[in-house]
């Protein structure tokens, strides 16, 4: 379970995230939507423990990210919008590095790497250096690295960018399976139709403030998520 209470993050005078509170329960997939510069990445980075914040509290399964960051990070995986990987390593070396960091046994890492790398069709390429990978392959490798320790909280920043249709479909299924097994998934996206299909909850952020947070069904009602989002965005210009 991800619980954010009154999160505020400032960059100088600019308030990037303003008193944001939300709770994403176990087994939920929550889409985090907002215009460019709304504060999505800042929020995700704050949850991942990458940046400090000015106010508020973030806990992952009741573990405070600020007071016990290591324990909190063990429970989660964070995938940035444009993952920068260690290009001089081979794919498998990178995955072993991540597995070591999460202290996975040989059996565990073998099982999970094989499962996810095969499903995302990158298994055979794992012996190649990452520098030889295409953008999509790097994205797939980053996804596998985020999944190998079966995180209880998955934080994803635009995870579908660069994925081919088959991998994209596979990844949606993987997300659903993880959610079914009780994991929490919180991801930012601009692809609203995908969010509409796979997410149980939706949070909309505007200029750092959370303006909507509810179940997908309640938010979109009879219209589409795109219509709702555009309507809320237009309110800004009125």
């Amino acid at each position: 379970m991800l619980k954010i209470e009154h999160l505020t993050k400032k960059y100088g005078d600019k308030i990037a995230v303003d008193d944001l509170s939300l709770t994403v329960e176990d087994g939920k997939i929550c889409a985090f939507i907002g215009h460019n510069g709304a504060g999505k990445t800042t929020t995700l980075k704050a949850i991942a423990g990458i940046i400090n914040f000015d106010n508020g509290k973030i806990s992952i399964n009741d573990i405070d990210i600020q007071s016990d960051p290591l324990k909190a990070k063990l429970q989660m995986a964070y995938l940035p919008d444009n993952p920068d990987l260690y290009e001089h390593l081979k794919g498998i070396e990178y995955l072993n590095f991540i597995a070591d960091v999460f202290n996975l046994s040989v059996e565990e890492r073998k099982k999970n790497i094989e499962e996810y790398a095969k499903r995302l069709e990158i298994y055979k390429d794992l012996i190649d250096p990452i520098s030889s990978y295409s953008h999509g392959m790097k994205q797939k490798l980053a996804l596998v690295s985020a999944l190998i320790h079966k995180p209880k909280l998955l934080l994803l920043d635009e995870p579908f960018v660069g994925l081919d249709p088959i991998s994209s479909h596979q990844f949606k299924m993987i997300l659903q399976e993880l959610a079914d097994s009780g994991a929490t998934i919180f991801y930012s996206t601009h692809v609203l139709d995908v969010a509409e299909k796979i997410c149980s909850d939706v949070a909309i952020i505007k200029q750092g403030k959370l303006i909507v947070y509810d179940t997908m069904e309640k938010v979109k009602g009879m219209s589409s998520l795109e219509d709702i989002f555009l309507e809320l965005e237009n309110e800004k210009h009125d």
Binding site: G12, K45, A48, G49, I50, I51, N52, P69, L70, K71, K73, L74, Y78, P80, N82, P83, D84, L85, Y86, E87, H88, L89, K90, I92, E93, N96, F97, I98, A99, D100, V101, F102, N103, L104, S105, V106, R109, K110, I113, Y123, K124, L126, I127, D128, P129, S131, S132
Partner: protein, 524 residues
């Protein structure tokens, strides 16, 4: 032309931004001020050294004319060491290559802008010695308006030679490696070979060119290899317009050749470098569990050996230790007693000086770039990250230090007590310098860069670490002259030095695990 100037401006701004500050919003004026203060500090220190040379020169030959050749020779060697290996980072495999190629800008404009950018770095390093050299020369010799104008023109055009060396090296290294499978290994190997070649040249020049220059004569080697210095020396000392013309024409020729060389196959080399030649699938997928700390150290090693700029920057110190050991061993052969003890003190200074120049830790965070944020999101303790970075620096440098010690020991062994104290002094120094470099990189990380050269060479942490470590490494020599008038035992002196260094280490480590941790958390 407009595009060239605009691009050069962007590169210059990029060079200043983030070099001395964690915040990209820090004003350029503040960064420039920090840079200027550091520059003045180094120039004054080097100026003091050149002044002493000049005083000696006047006492030997009655004139300080030779100081120009000596100063500019030292400047050229220093600039080659500091920048020649980095020139390739400006022209090849920079992150903006594809963007610039997609824009309607002539390739020559791009190359010229990059050339100007690297020229500025050479100019800065060169000026650190050249300015004090000219000032001191004018203090001792007759001054004229013409000679001052010549000195100013000389200052501006002098980096043309080092730029030529850098461009040639960059072109050769990259044209060869672009055709190879293991590009980075090839680039590193050729760069190291060049480094060794430079040392061999300096070492052989030590007994010829330097001595000639010192007694006020322009050595033949300089006339042939560095005609620029010869022409400028003649122009300033005799206020000759003809010699100045020769200097200007030579410099312009060097500049044209540099740009021309890099222009050859520029696009092909860059596209080949960006294309990975895939070999048939080799090896197999393996699953091996390692302790997090050992996997982190392995990651540090792989990062180090895969980046030619990082590798050259980090390997200079260890390689110099061996060279210093050979030079010292030559000097101390057959000595005993007090004379031999002085060599122990000199070795303490020299070994720690070269090892402290650029510990890998001083740029180990900057080189991570945006990967650092991923590292921060992993469940890894701050202490483990710090330990892995300092640990790798130790693993890299220690064997060289050990070999250097053995060389000295084989030639003329110190007393056993001195040997043991020296050994522990070096270990403490290695950790001290690496820890300080780490602290500086936490204070001034440069995570946004378009080429590795910016991360490795243009960070404030690297420059600050270098200066502070240089000062600390001179402590043994200074303390020797202070302490030895009170205490007569070299062993006691070494014990005191060990305690001083150990106390410094405790202070730096305390800072690293308190202030450093806060700085680490603040990096965003």
């Amino acid at each position: 032309m407009k595009n060239t100037i605009n691009l050069a401006k962007i590169y210059f701004k990029e060079m200043l931004t983030n070099s001395f500050s964690r915040s990209s919003k820090r004003s350029g004026a503040k960064n420039a001020l920090t840079f200027a203060l550091l520059f003045i500090f180094i120039a004054v220190c080097l100026g003091y050294m050149i002044y002493n040379f000049a005083v000696l020169q006047v006492s030997v030959s009655g004139s300080a004319k030779g100081i120009i050749v000596l100063g500019l020779l030292i400047a050229t060697i220093m600039v080659i060491m500091m920048t020649a290996f980095d020139t390739q980072g400006y022209f090849y495999q920079s992150k903006d290559y594809e963007l610039l190629q997609s824009l309607p800008i002539k390739t020559t404009s791009i190359i010229t802008a990059k050339y100007i950018s690297s020229y500025i770095m050479s100019f800065i390093y060169n000026s650190m010695i050249a300015i004090p050299t000219f000032v001191i020369y004018f203090c001792f010799e007759q001054i004229s308006a013409l000679s001052i104008i010549f000195a100013i023109i000389g200052l501006i055009l002098l980096p043309a030679f080092t730029q030529l060396i850098g461009s040639l090296l960059a072109w050769i290294v990259n044209i060869i490696s672009s055709k190879m499978k293991n590009k980075n290994i090839i680039r590193s190997v050729i760069s190291i070979l060049f480094l060794i070649l430079v040392y061999v040249f300096i070492y052989s020049a030590d007994t010829t060119a330097f001595v000639d220059a010192f007694i006020g004569q322009v050595p033949i080697a300089i006339k042939i290899v560095l005609p620029q210095i010869y022409f400028l020396h003649n122009a300033i000392t005799s206020s000759s317009i003809l010699w100045m013309l020769a200097f200007v024409l030579t410099s312009l020729a060097f500049t044209s050749i540099s740009i021309l060389v890099v222009s050859i196959s520029y696009k092909k080399i860059n596209s080949d470098l960006n294309t990975n030649i895939k070999s048939k699938k080799k090896g197999k997928i393996y699953y091996k569990k390692s302790k997090p700390i050992s996997t982190l150290i392995k990651k540090e090693a792989k990062t180090f050996f895969s980046s030619p700029i990082y590798l050259i920057n980090g390997i200079i110190g260890p390689v110099l230790v061996i060279i210093m050991a050979v030079v010292l061993a030559n000097g101390m052969n057959g000595l005993a007693g007090e004379s031999l003890n002085i060599f122990a003190v000199i070795s303490m200074t020299l070994f720690t000086l070269v090892l402290g120049i650029v510990p890998t830790t001083a740029v180990s965070i900057s080189i991570e770039g945006s990967k650092f944020y991923s590292l921060k999101s992993f469940p890894i303790r701050y202490e483990s990250i710090i330990f892995s970075k300092i640990g790798f620096n130790f693993i890299l440098s220690f064997p060289f230090l050990l070999i250097a010690q053995i060389i000295l020991w084989v030639v003329n062994p110190f007393e056993i007590g001195i040997c043991i104290l020296l050994f522990f002094y070096y270990i403490i120094s290695l950790i001290l310098y690496a820890s300080f470099g780490m602290l500086m990189n936490l204070k001034m990380p440069r995570l946004k860069w378009s080429s590795e050269t910016q991360a490795v060479k243009q960070g404030g942490s690297m420059i600050t670490t270098m200066i502070v470590n240089m000062i600390v490494s001179f402590l043994p020599l200074i303390m020797y002259f202070i302490l030895m008038s009170y205490i007569k035992s070299i062993v006691l002196y070494m014990c005191i030095m060990f305690v001083i260094n150990f106390a410094l280490l405790i202070v730096v480590l305390t800072l690293l695990f308190t202030l450093g941790k806060k700085l680490y958390n603040k990096i965003q």
